[in-house]
Amino acid sequence: MILDGKCPKGPIQTSWDRHRFDLKLVNPANKRKYKVLVVGTGLAGGAAAATLGELGYNVEAFCYQDSARRAHSIAAQGGINAAKNYPNDGDSIYRLFYDTIKGGDFRAREADVWRLAQVSNNIIDQCVAQGVPFARDYAGYLDNRSFGGAQVSRTFYARGQTGQQLLLGAYSALSRQVKAGTVKLFARTEMLDLVVVDGEAKGITIRDLITGEIRTHVGDAVVLCTGGYVNVFYLSTNAMGCSVTANWRAHKKGAFFANPCYTQIHPTCIPQHGEHQSKLTLMSESLRNDGRCWAPKKKGDNRHPNDIPEDERDYYLERKYPSFGNLAPRDIASRAAKEQCDDGRGVGPGGRGVNLDFSDAIKRVGEHTIRERYGNLFEMYEKITDENAYKQPMRMYPAPHYSMGGLWVDYNCESNVPGLFVLGEANFSVHGANRLGASALMQGLADGYFVIPYTIANYLAKTKPGAVKADHPECKKSVEDVKSYNNRLLNINGKKTVSEFHRELGKIMWENVGMARSEETLKDAIKRIPALREEFWKNVKVTGKGEELNQQLENAGRVADFLEFGELMAKDALHRNESCGGHFRVEHQMPDGEAKRDDENYCYVGAWEFKGVDKEPELHKEPLTFENVHLAVRSYK
């Protein structure tokens, strides 16, 4: 099937404005007759729920944490892009659009990216009005810094806690709507099924994580804002509760999964220290504004980094990419770091690390300024590693961080299941094969504040409110299905814990479907994952009952979904016989090791249709056309 992204035709500069005018509206008096279910309360979900509530819709918002403020958007430290051009350094909506298309290695839709760049400016204004304390200069104007993949300073920031501050802004807007009675919040609930009636999304089945009650909430539309899936690697920068579950269960109910193999490996994470680690910690990319990456020139040089003289250091990013230097995009910086380590020149335990050195910056601007810019990150680094990065370089290694793939959506952020909308990291739309720095926060808030309010109206205007009631047979069936699925998990009573399976899966994924993939490793993964899945369903041990607070059961459900999803990820990576952005197939590289894209055969979005566990999924394609930014080799040299 050829998928239609429903992008507006004609000049891109006016595409969103024209489309907005063409979308249907819902009269204010009728808005309150509609109920919208929003799953997830991060930047996309929090912003969407608050905005839809503000417009007058009845909103029910769900999150698995005890508070909407704890979504993992809170951990995004670096900043948020906008094309304000305040520093007068040549930025424009067009340039942000251009950088994002190029940064994503030409695997994103032009119209979506244009819109993102266009509304980015509204986001800053909105957040400032909410009282988000962005960094300012002494005169009171907003301050900017630069991030990977850009040669202008367009990143707005709030110390090293930008994600936190933006999320708290959205959360405060959400709290205002809760008070106003337009939004009902359901914390500590997890979506375990999508209810589809006559082909349209009309409800979700959730588990109350305190009581274990399984129940369905019905609505006129469902908005998934459930974040990314890189916890499939076990060790990642995601929060412990991040999963593919909501997306995967919607996928099983008919929603197509697009580009699952596009996962971002972030270059600046604290290296792994031991076998029994639960997660990896990201250090903001903004550190590369002042930190210089280097590895010793000599193999196996295990002198203290401060004892290695200048001429025995290889500042490999500055050497290889003179025009972008340490601010090369993430996929490029990640592969370059791996290259140093694979060459035997890595530093730290196991040789899995490179240096990120601040000594020049400290000499230039003083320790005080560095402390002001990144102080909390240095503190965090010291807590984890017991090393003082003001006195010696930080050690960094790439780690799974962000998913560019997600449920397939059209230009309206609507999936192929009518009434099911997907926003933020949970959809596939704007990042292509690689996400540039400071653009995830931008996308979450753009979708939530400035896209969904318009596009969902177009769907609701054509829909009769309250058509499906809670006693609909599909709701009852959904509750029964979820209960029996959970009971199956509880009754296996095997020998291995959920975490053991998750670790094993993570190892397969990292080694075979990680930073570098090949036909051989992918085929190996596709063989090993179903075997592990089979063992899981025979030998996992989940203690406790379903009708109580049961964290083992929660984890078991999430890992069960990862065990199905991981296979799809590997299949997607295998079918895509090219390298692009975060998808690097070792068979497809230039003589100098850069990614070799194949536009003739793979310039499309690959969207998979679920056909059953252990059955071949069906691939649908949405061709990508580039009319404004011409397909070109992506160079940062």
Binding site: A50, Q65, D66, S67, R69, R70, A71, H72, I74, A75, K84, Y86, D125, Q126, C127, V128, A129, Q130, G131, V132, P133, F134, R136, D137, A139, G140, Y141, L142, A158, Q161, Q164, Q165, Y171, S172, A173, S175, R176, I210, A239, M240, G241, G274, H276, Q277, S278, T281, E379, M380, K383, I384, D386, P453, S499, E500, K541, T543, G544, L549, Q551, Q552
Partner: protein, 246 residues
């Protein structure tokens, strides 16, 4: 290293609870406190026992989900550190460690180490926001905010809402938490217009949710993983008095 743990176990809000003893063996000093507990749990699951239930999520010290009183101190007593960022190198071989949930009247225990912190939500919902609509707001640079004010607001805004301040306070007060939001928004031109209504509404909500009052023990500041300063409580009081005279 090997440790002896005494962990608060309680199966439900109205059930009796007690400290149970567990051994944590071969703990690496590089592990985080929660990773140490993960391993204890793995062992319990293998023995067919119910693992210890505790709240945690980002494990980067920023989401505010984790909440444990370790040896009598919320988040374990290392300065400006959440439990998830507390590392085992702060303990020694042979140590005995007591692990309990947040203690406060306004935080009923749900199970084991998990408490109900929804009282903090009610305070936010009462007024922790500016009444701004998603459309047609002024350009971000249209209203200047001097750096000193922005920095002051940011110092307050760093609060992660974990509730350690409440757990540390002998009165179970949420004044530090509330004051952080009040001070942040009162310091900015965008939030100033509603400052009087906000401080009254949030203070009322704090009392309704069952939190106590401040009597200047400063335990909150000592326990706060983000180092939120008690000067914001003074600001809260000042804003409150100003509102009363309006």
């Amino acid at each position: 290293m090997n440790l002896t743990l005494h962990v608060w176990r309680q199966s439900g809000p109205n059930q009796p609870g007690k400290l149970e003893q567990y051994d944590a063996k071969n703990v690496s000093p590089d592990q985080s406190f929660l990773e140490m507990l993960d391993e204890v749990n793995e062992q319990l699951i293998k023995e067919g026992k119910d693992p210890i239930v505790f709240d945690h999520d980002c494990r980067e010290g920023i989401c505010g989900m984790c909440s444990q009183v370790i040896n009598g101190v919320p988040h374990g007593g290392q300065e400006r550190t959440t439990v998830c960022q507390l590392h085992m190198r702060n303990f020694s071989d042979g140590d005995t460690i007591y692990i309990e949930p947040w203690r406060a009247l306004a935080f009923p225990i749900i199970r084991d180490l998990i408490v109900d912190r929804s009282g903090l939500e009610k305070i936010m919902q009462a007024g922790g926001y500016t009444s701004c609509h998603t459309g047609g707001v002024a350009d971000g640079n249209a209203i200047l905010v001097p750096k000193v004010d922005a920095d002051y607001a940011m110092d307050a805004a760093e609060c992660i809402g974990c509730g350690a301040c409440v757990a540390a306070c002998p009165n179970g007060s949420a004044m530090l938490y509330t004051s952080a939001k009040v001070a942040q928004l009162a310091a900015l031109p965008q939030g100033k217009a509603e400052a009087a209504q906000r401080v009254c509404a949030m203070t009322d909500a704090m009392q309704e949710a069952g939190f106590g009052n401040c009597s200047n023990h400063y335990e909150c500041q000592a326990a706060c993983p983000k180092g939120i300063n008690v000067k914001f409580i003074a600001r809260l009081n000042r804003e409150y008095q100003k509102a009363l005279f309006k």
